[in-house]
């Protein structure tokens, strides 16, 4: 999409102050994308530093227990830093370096993108500052210290609802104040063009590998590819290479919080309407006058009132479907996959696992599901314990 649109979604709705910089970023990315040296360097980092390719794991016990489709997990939780976020930040921080930048800033919700950015910045010698909602710095205190260990400065954001969207606001404000030496390393397939396209490209390594891996394991394509969706980067990475395969159902699992019929939810596709925010036209949780709604989910990483424009487009054209998953369902899936497969998956990823548990039994034994585990769940253990009424603090 050279005009930065996915159907009517996307665009570049940002202040004039950032326009020249965003055009420079577009140009730099276009150039690097087709530069064999850049591609090779990123590929090497993915292989030798991040630990790619990630496994496509056949979950035999869950398959047997659920009694339906064959279940494969794409193990992004096994990447260095523990989530898919590393795929994107290695690309963007490398790009920032090529652009002559010396500093990167990033927003973070659960802390995974912040940790990944701090990691890439440490490796590639960049100054790094991370903006994180005050609320989230409390929910994810360990990740704050982790980022500091990696040499990043963490700014707790107290404005608004003090969560992910406010961290994005803070980053946009900071970037507007200091573009000359700084790249805003956006963590998801959102924001102004070229971010949704670029982050999707960097994340598409997930589906590129998964497609090859499933063909070699099963000799055929899967029936379903599914992943959790906040802004939507691991889902877009999981979908991209399968979009052209018409027989593959693509399912995004959103955080419904207490339920889509309550006001404690973050399920944008279920309850959101079209809007323009954070640089893009897409779907957002908002009121009738366009005020962005305070959203809620047990998962700090899915606690975002919008969704990336490419997802909005895939839904509009009916290519992908999006389903809401509640806190309770996600926590049950978190516990189930731990007991059954010995995998502590992130609470974000557990939203996808929860939906998988609903659909797998209804599918035939000859059918195949690939579900992406976007991250590991060590960071969530204390929060899950508290959810279950156990007074455990990190």
């Amino acid at each position: 999409m050279s005009d930065g649109r996915f159907g009517k979604h996307g665009g570049q709705y940002i202040p004039e102050t950032l326009m020249n910089e965003i055009h420079k970023l577009e140009d730099a990315y276009e150039q690097c994308k087709s530069d064999p040296a850049f591609v090779e360097e990123l590929d090497r980092l993915n292989r030798e530093y991040a630990g790619r390719p990630s496994l496509l794991y056949y979950a035999e016990k869950m398959t047997r227990d659920l009694g339906g489709a064959k279940i494969y997990f794409k193990r992004e939780d096994l990447n260095h830093t523990g989530s898919h976020k590393i795929n994107n930040v290695l690309g963007q921080v490398l790009l920032a370096k090529k652009m002559g930048k010396t500093r990167v800033i990033a927003e973070t919700g659960a802390g995974q993108h912040g940790v990944a950015t701090a990691t890439a910045a440490a490796l590639l010698d960049m100054e790094c500052e991370v903006y994180m909602g005050k609320e989230d710095t409390i929910r994810q205190a360990l990740n704050v210290y982790r980022m500091e260990l990696l040499g990043a400065k963490v700014h707790p954001v107290e404005s608004g609802t003090a969560t992910l969207k406010d961290a994005v606001n803070a980053c946009m404000r900071e970037w507007t104040a200091r573009v000359h030496d700084t790249l805003y390393v956006l963590g998801s397939v959102m924001g102004p063009h070229p971010f949704p396209m670029m982050v999707g490209d960097f994340q598409s390594v997930i589906s590129r590998e998964a497609r090859e891996q499933i063909l070699s394991a099963e000799g055929r394509l899967p029936d379903v590819v599914m992943a959790c969706v906040g802004g939507g980067s691991n889902a877009m990475g999981s979908f991209r290479e399968f979009i052209g395969d018409e027989g593959v159902r693509l399912i995004g699992c959103e955080a419904a919080g207490h339920g889509v019929d309550t006001d404690r939810t973050a399920a944008t596709m279920a309850v959101g309407t079209e809007g323009i925010f954070h640089g893009m036209k897409s779907y957002f949780c908002q009121d009738e006058f366009g005020q962005i709604a305070p959203v809620y989910s047990i998962s700090a990483g899915l606690d975002y009132p919008g969704v990336g424009p490419e997802h909005a487009y895939l839904r509009d054209i009916g290519r992908a479907e999006y389903v809401p998953v509640t806190d309770e369902e996600a926590v049950r899936a978190f516990e189930y996959i731990a007991r059954t497969e010995g995998i502590i998956a992130a609470i974000e990823s557990s939203h996808a696992v929860a939906h998988l548990m609903k659909i797998a039994p209804e599918m035939g034994k000859d059918q195949i599901i690939i579900c992406t585990l976007s991250g590991r769940g060590d960071k969530d253990v204390a929060a899950i314990a508290r959810y279950r009424g156990i007074d455990l603090h990190e």
Binding site: T17, M19, R173, T176, I292
Partner: protein, 257 residues
């Protein structure tokens, strides 16, 4: 043609900004009249938004106060409508695009025309995206105000060429809010603009002293003050009228000839 050009006729313009609904819409209407009496030539009314990404802490807080008080787009239109019985001062809205999009571009511009709102300043609507709104606004004689920033450089001519109403030159990098010192070479930006259009140029972002008003109005057609005014309203609340009048008079006295 909207009323905006009246603001720049014969003299330099002082443009005052305040957030509508802070502390209440009744007060907003009074404050507009107070600013007019104190010599303001144009008033910019901010429509409060939950996530004002181009604004600093002072205006962010005013937005939250206004929204907390139940202010909505609809109520602001009603307020402006009755305010128009008392004053003909040119008025523009400062609004984020989502507010306009959600209301409906056509319906919003039509309401602006019928209530007497002359222009729209939209910080997250850059030149490249303005065509989705500008033709509709034009139909209702509402100017979509062009913004030019310190980083605009070779974009200046493109952005300024067809600008109507006035051109808003952002003096500094970053968000709104008072600054002790402004380092951008604004004069050069204004000269580049003058090379392609006669549309009046006003400078804003960071201006809060009489000396700054003097300096910036001498190299352009007017100065815009926002956060400093909003701060007074934040401090004095319901009773901000008198202090507001005093402050605006002082700023207006700084305008260049």
């Amino acid at each position: 043609m909207s009323k905006i050009k009246n603001a720049f006729e014969k003299k330099k313009a002082f443009i005052g900004f305040l957030t509508a609904g802070d502390p209440s819409l009744e007060r907003t209407a009074e404050f507009v009249l107070e600013m007019e009496r104190a010599g303001a030539s144009l008033v910019e009314l901010g429509i409060p938004f939950s996530d004002p990404i181009a604004d600093g802490p002072v205006i962010q807080e005013a937005n939250l106060r206004a929204l907390g008080g139940g202010c909505t787009t609809e109520k602001i239109f009603d307020m402006v409508s009755s305010l128009r019985e008392k004053t003909q001062i040119p008025l523009v809205f400062l609004t984020y695009l989502n507010t306009v999009y959600k209301y409906g571009y056509e319906k919003f511009c039509e309401r602006c025309q019928s209530c007497g709102v002359d222009g729209l300043v939209i910080p997250d609507l850059p030149f490249e995206e303005r065509e989705e709104l500008a033709p509709i606004a034009r139909k209702y004689d509402v100017d979509v105000i062009a913004m030019i920033a310190p980083t605009s450089k070779e974009r200046i001519q493109m952005v300024a060429r067809d600008a109507t109403g006035f051109i808003y030159v952002v003096s500094s990098m970053g968000v709104t809010g008072a600054r002790r010192e402004i380092t951008t070479d604004v004069r050069e930006i204004v000269e580049t603009i003058r090379g392609v259009t006669d549309t009046p140029v006003a400078i804003g972002f960071g201006i809060n002293t009489k000396e700054q008003v003097q300096r910036y109005s001498s190299i352009s057609d007017g100065a815009i003050v926002g956060s400093a005014i909003v701060k007074i309203i934040g401090e004095y609340g319901e009773d901000a009228g008198e202090e507001l009048g005093r402050y605006v008079r002082e700023m207006v006295s700084g305008l260049a000839d």
